[in-house]
């Protein structure tokens, strides 16, 4: 015995000398727990689709959080996950055929050049969204459709242009099994999934918020399927669970946590004394400005006669407000910033109340249907405060925060990887599985020229 030990020790030391032995650390084996991810289908909106930088494009689709999730599912027996990919040769399209943004140099009306989101190309792509790819690429596992609301997901013929502008979605036309009659839900149902993800509902408030509450409307919380949030969401989950499939559902993040709404400060009107004096003279004392930071003048039709007022702290100016007009044409001082670029306290309150109601519905469905639940709202709020991931600091600041794409509403690849990890954590917690999280450091952040 002692001899054997000595032989062992001698061999160990000798092999270390010769091969300079390398340490091993055994990783725990992935484990499916109580969940079967063989056939995974994702139903969702812009976020699930892999929409980023203001457009749908190949790289962003490859980095959609559901595609990342499906990649990790392969470790516990997940199958192929098909997405309606836009050709890698195309730069990508938004609903009107515009290309995605990239960071580039832009010269403003004052002649100052700085880094800003600029179009990758100004060429309009008219063909991508008018070409169905179902027969060549489908059927699809990712039924994520940009701009789709909960009430759209159950809408028959959502890809049918005959329904008229506003009632159909060209992104869904591309991928629908039947361009005339499919709904997102019927296509998702056709996948006969063993596992599904639902992250839809934020467009039901976001479309309204994104329009400065000047157009569109928040989806009513109650009403029949296709009209009300509750019934539509219940229909989606009931349909997907009908064959016994398990799933994961995420709630709706508060608009406050998106850089689109938080980048331009309410008091961003920075004036020198001379500028303040001349504005005060021109406005005849209607509003009084001082040297330094001043609140912008915004449109508010509720104010008698003048239809404008000073914005107050807590109100939001949207990222697509025309900055050149603000800098050079007196917008926000001599003339008000139009309503469509502003969310007032009352509008914010409507949005937040709706978000809270929707999230209560989603949590209730998750609990009654035994779904894993992702608190996306809390995730985005913690990102807003700032997180550190394996030494990388990230927050929701536009561009510099590192987690959002250049449209200020959708995540970039590392942001999507972090969101996918939230789903993995929720699934592991609910179903006792052991799916490793994805190494988010392998996913890029913002690209700088």
């Amino acid at each position: 015995m002692k001899n054997k030990f000595h032989t062992f020790l001698g061999t160990a030391i000798l092999s270390c000398l010769i091969f300079s032995c390398k340490p091993k650390i055994d990783a725990p084996n992935p484990n499916k727990g109580n969940v079967d991810v063989t056939r995974f289908v994702a139903i969702g909106n812009t976020m699930s689709a892999g929409f980023a930088d203001g457009a749908l494009y190949n790289e962003a689709q490859e980095n959609s959080f559901v595609n990342i999730l499906a990649g990790q599912f392969k470790l516990i027996g997940g199958g192929n996950f098909k997405q309606p990919l836009i050709s890698s040769g195309s730069v990508g399209v938004d609903a009107n055929g515009n290309a995605p943004f990239k960071l580039g140099y832009s010269t403003d009306c004052l002649g100052a050049t700085s880094l800003a989101p600029i179009p990758t190309t100004t060429v309009i792509d008219a063909s991508t969204l008018s070409t169905s790819v179902y027969s060549s690429q489908g059927p699809f596992n990712n039924i994520g459709v940009p701009n789709a609301k909960v009430i759209n997901a159950v809408q028959t013929g959502y890809g049918n242009s005959a329904q008229g502008a506003g009632n159909y979605n060209p992104f869904f036309y591309r991928m629908a099994a039947n361009t005339a009659s499919s709904s997102m839900l019927t296509d998702a149902q056709a996948a006969n999934a063993t596992f599904f993800s639902v992250m839809i509902g934020n467009d039901d408030v976001l479309a309204y918020a994104q329009a400065g509450a000047a157009s569109d409307a928040i989806t009513p919380s109650s009403g029949i399927t296709g009209i009300g949030f509750d019934a539509s969401m219940n229909t989606i989950v009931n349909t997907l669970t009908a064959n016994g499939a398990k799933g994961v559902i995420a709630n709706v993040p508060d608009v406050y946590s998106l850089p689109y709404f938080t980048t331009i400060p309410y008091n961003g009107l920075t004036l020198r004394q001379g500028q303040a004096d001349s504005l005060n003279n021109a406005l005849g004392g209607l509003f009084v400005f001082q040297a330094g930071n001043n609140p912008f003048v915004i449109e508010d039709t509720a104010v008698p006669f003048i239809g404008s007022r000073l914005i107050v702290a807590g109100e939001l100016i949207l990222l697509d407000a025309p900055l050149d007009k603000i800098k050079c044409n007196g917008m926000g001082s001599l003339t008000p910033i139009p309503d469509k670029y502003v969310l007032t306290l009352a509008e914010i309150s409507n949005i937040q109340n709706a978000t809270a109601t929707f999230n209560a519905t989603i949590k209730n469905i998750a609990d009654t249907k035994g779904l894993a639940f992702v608190d996306a709202n809390t995730f985005f709020k913690s990102l807003q405060k700032g997180i550190v991931y394996n030494g990388i600091a990230l927050n929701t600041s536009f561009v510099t925060g590192g987690a959002f794409s250049l449209d200020g509403m959708n995540l970039n690849p590392i942001g999507n990887a972090l969101l996918a990890n939230e789903f993995i954590k929720a699934i592991n917690l609910k179903f006792g599985s052991l799916i490793p999280q994805v190494d988010a450091t392998k996913y890029r952040g913002v690209i700088f020229p």
Partner: protein
């Protein structure tokens, strides 16, 4: 000889590891006995181990030794199972000593050049912690002129002035992506000189038994004019400007209590207990000269604590020429839970050592030692949010030649 010694110093890269940034490879005889040697006077390594004992050395001598250290670490991320290894280069810490004094004089002089602190670690490309660290090279050389005086037959004292030179280079990736798919990089490089001392008392109540008390001072290495080089996308050159930085790292004091017992002419035992003042390493701060909103000064919490090491070993003269040694040491890590970083994935360590010595004639002796360290630690770094397990193997082989005159 002096010239050669200098060359040797100038050419040697230095190393690494053995508890914090301490390198405990200062003498081959001592290393073979677990790194204990403050109370067992054998050769010129006493300049490092106990200046008080130099006056008890019977002969003048020159002692030159070097080590080859191979360290391999691995990391397994707890959340993602992402796995990475270090590809750290071979490190070669050295030690050279000269001891001289007129015959039967109570005063003796010593000179030592050695490498008591250092670290070389380089993680594989693309590893998950690369935004915290890709590589670190910390090298120090201490040069120590020393005097030792034999107060009486039983008691000697000694002290040396320490001139310390340090070089440091730290590299990491930055989360800024250029159009070609490359991450931005930071490279912080600096060097500095500093001063300290090493003093000791040697007490030998009888020929078989001896005790030691030594103190090596804390040394503050202040890098005043380091060079920070940032390789970033061109549009960010003004936001993250390369330029000078200052920083500092404090190398800890070491207080040692030692004892040695010689059973007979052949068999001796030695024990050292170190109390190491690592608490001095609280924050790793980088003060950049050209601050911007994207390049603020940084303060990285390290929060090391004072700690102990226990080193003990034995040697046995097999015959007139051969001596065999064995020893072990227990090093308690100075790094608290929540503060382990990839620059030094330290843990409590149990190290095993063995050594051999061979006399060639009356004047020469060759000594060799082998050390093996194996340690593992799971930690969730609070600052980096890096959550995983580190495991390290270290093999150190050393050889020294001693010449008596």
């Amino acid at each position: 000889m002096k010239r050669k010694l200098f060359l040797f110093i100038a050419c040697s890269p230095i190393l690494l590891f053995s508890q914090g940034f301490q390198v405990n490879l200062q003498g081959q005889k001592q290393q073979g006995m677990g790194g204990a040697g403050s109370a067992l006077m054998q050769d010129g390594a006493a300049v490092f181990f106990n200046p008080g004992g130099i006056s008890f050395l019977k002969e003048n001598s020159i002692n030159v030794g070097a080590n080859a250290v191979i360290a391999n670490s691995a990391y397994l991320d707890a959340n993602t199972n992402s796995f990475a290894r270090t590809t750290s280069p071979l490190a070669t810490p050295f030690a050279a000593y000269a001891v001289w004094g007129p015959d039967s004089c109570k005063l003796k002089f010593g000179l030592g050049a050695y490498t008591p602190f250092g670290s070389i670690v380089s993680w594989q490309d693309g590893w998950t912690g690369r935004f915290a660290l890709t590589s670190l090279k910390l090298q120090t050389i201490f040069v120590q002129p020393t005097v030792s005086y034999k107060l009486c037959d039983k008691l000697g004292i000694g002290a040396g002035f320490v001139f310390a030179h340090g070089d440091v280079e730290l590299k990491k990736d930055l989360n800024l992506y250029d159009a070609n798919g490359n991450y931005a990089k930071a490279d912080l490089k600096g060097s500095t000189n500093a001063y300290g001392f090493n003093a000791g008392i040697y007490y030998q109540p009888c020929s078989k038994l001896s005790f030691a008390l030594t103190y090596r001072s804390q040394i503050n290495m202040k890098v005043k004019n380091g060079t920070a080089t940032f390789t970033v996308p061109p549009s960010l050159n003004a936001n993250v400007p390369s330029g000078p930085f200052s920083s500092s790292i404090s190398l800890p004091s070491v207080f040692t209590l030692g004892a040695a017992y010689s059973v007979n002419q052949k068999l001796s035992f030695a024990l050292d207990i170190n109390y190491i003042g690592w608490k001095c390493y609280d924050t790793l701060a980088f003060d950049y000269k050209n601050n911007t909103s994207s390049l603020p000064d940084t303060k990285l919490p390290r929060c090391y604590k004072n700690t102990f090491a226990f080193r003990y070993g034995a040697q046995y003269w097999i015959n007139d020429k051969f001596v065999a040694r064995a020893g072990m040491s227990i090093s308690l890590t100075p790094i608290k839970d929540g503060y382990v970083t990839p620059e030094l994935p330290d843990a409590n360590r149990l190290n095993l050592m063995a050594g051999l010595g061979y006399k060639i004639g009356n004047r020469f002796m060759v000594d060799a030692s082998y050390t093996f360290e194996n340690f593992k630690r799971k930690d969730h770094n609070l600052d980096l949010n890096l959550d995983g397990t580190y495991k390290t193997y270290i093999s150190a082989m050393g050889l020294s030649v001693n010449y008596k005159f």
